[in-house]
Amino acid sequence: MYCEGDSWGCYLPMSLRSMGSDPMERVVKLASESAVVIFSVSSCCMCHAAKRLFCGMGVNPTVYELDQDPRGKEMEMALTTLLGNSQTVPIVFIGGKLIGAMDRVMASHINGSLVPLLKEAGALWL
């Protein structure tokens, strides 16, 4: 059911979400609503890799495809500003806290800090 083909954890219909007028605010709000949040672009293969990474660990990430949201462009820009211009999707939040782009996610998995964060956020058990 999860992580088969295109059904990632849960795709939340964003139009039903509360509309913060500031894109940054919206990002933060969405990020805090699930244990693991990935801001992605549907055609991006690195985003696919990020999704596979979490699924492979038994985690169900909440994915927001920015190219499928009417306000996705603004949110993408807000995220880029937050992270510095060289960083792009996928961008991962765990327990409402910003982890970063693929670089940071990989680094924190290798150095062992990712799993404790996931457990803390309730995304992983044992």
Binding site: L53, G56, M102, N111
Partner: protein, 358 residues
């Protein structure tokens, strides 16, 4: 050649002031446009008196016999000295001309060799099975990026080999941990340097990096996204219980990260493939599909970078888990492993041809 025929200056000068003469002679040198043959040459000639062929001196001297020999001996000597100077200056100019000619030739040769190298590199890429190369030429910048990388990589391998030998010696000699730490750090730094080099050339031609043509054939056999598998690093020595646990966790994370990137790569292949194949086949126009596919291929660069990033992080985590001595042994084993793979490649390439069966 502009050097004037030897002038017998004394015929133009009043002879009786030797120092004055030498001064003017110095000027003469300069007016000949030869700043190198400065007045110091005059001093040089003194030292060269034995070296200068006596025959030339005699030749020069012969005409001076036409001068009044009743003139005082010192004047004779001075004239002879001046003549020798002229000769020395002339020879010096000739030598300089020859040297400059040689430099020019070498420069031309160098340009030719560089062009040859570029051409051969291109051919190497063609023979790597890159079919499109025969239809679409490589730009100059791609070639120079690749040529530069190949040279740097050659040097990298040499330094790598030297470091491996140093590590081996150090471990056998039981040097202090502090000194060993320095070797470990520079060993790791050397790998990080390679990742930087790869990142640069990946921007010029990512297919070059991914194809692994820059490596030997046996290394290429094990290649994963343009390099070695990070999990290759994790074949290890005796470990303490704590270490066994940490290495086990690292192995698992590493494997998961590798799998994620591999799946991302597969998705990229599918995407590019379906883009290229897309659109009505009945029509002859494929430019839009190919153009779109090109955009998607840009993602390949980020995969190569991410793979190298994974290698780097794994190396660093290993150095945190292990003691200095263990890390040194690990680096030695890794370097030795690649060294043996290269030897295997060479051996394979030079194996005798298989006898054909009747």
């Amino acid at each position: 050649m502009n050097s004037p025929t030897p002038q017998f200056v004394p015929s133009r000068l009043s002879i009786y002031e030797p120092i004055h003469q030498i001064g003017i002679w110095g000027e003469n040198f300069k007016r000949n446009g030869n700043p190198n043959t400065s007045t110091s040459l005059i001093v040089e000639v003194d030292n060269k008196l034995e070296n200068e062929s006596e025959t030339t001196s005699h030749e020069m001297l012969a005409p001076t016999n036409n001068y009044e020999q009743e003139a005082s001996k010192p004047i004779d000597k001075i004239q002879r000295r001046l003549a020798q100077n002229r000769e020395a200056a002339r020879k010096s100019r000739l030598r300089k001309k020859a040297y400059v000619q040689q430099l020019e030739n070498s420069r031309l040769k160098l340009i030719q060799l560089e062009q040859e190298l570029q051409r051969v590199t291109q051919q190497g890429l063609y023979m790597g099975g890159v079919l499109e190369g025969s239809h679409i030429g490589f730009s100059g910048t791609v070639n120079s990026g690749i040529a530069a990388f190949e040279m740097e990589y050659g040097r990298w391998v040499d330094v790598q080999h030297r470091q491996i030998c140093e590590l081996r010696t150090a471990l056998n000699a039981h040097i202090s941990d502090i000194e060993l730490r320095i070797l470990v750090k520079s060993g790791m730094g050397h790998y990080f340097e390679l990742f930087r080099m790869k990142s640069t050339v990946a921007k010029a031609d990512v297919f070059y990096v991914i194809s692994g043509v820059w490596k030997t054939s046996a290394e290429r056999f094990f290649s994963w996204i343009g390099g070695f598998r990070p999990s290759e690093l994790l074949k290890l020595d005796p470990l303490t219980e704590q270490q066994i646990l940490e290495v086990c966790n690292l192995k698992q994370s590493c494997q998961q990260a590798e799998d994620a990137l591999s799946q991302g790569m597969e998705k990229l292949q599918e995407t590019v493939s379906s883009t290229v194949a897309g659109g009505p086949v009945a029509e002859d126009s494929y430019i839009p599909q190919v153009a779109t596919a090109m955009e998607k291929l840009e993602a390949l660069v980020s995969f190569v970078n991410q793979a190298d990033h994974l290698r780097q992080e794994t190396l660093q985590q290993m150095s945190r888990i292990l003691t200095t001595r263990q890390a040194a042994r690990g680096l030695l084993a890794l370097g030795e492993y690649f060294h043996r793979l290269r030897a295997l490649s060479t051996l394979w390439a030079t194996r005798p041809p298989e006898p054909s069966l009747p």
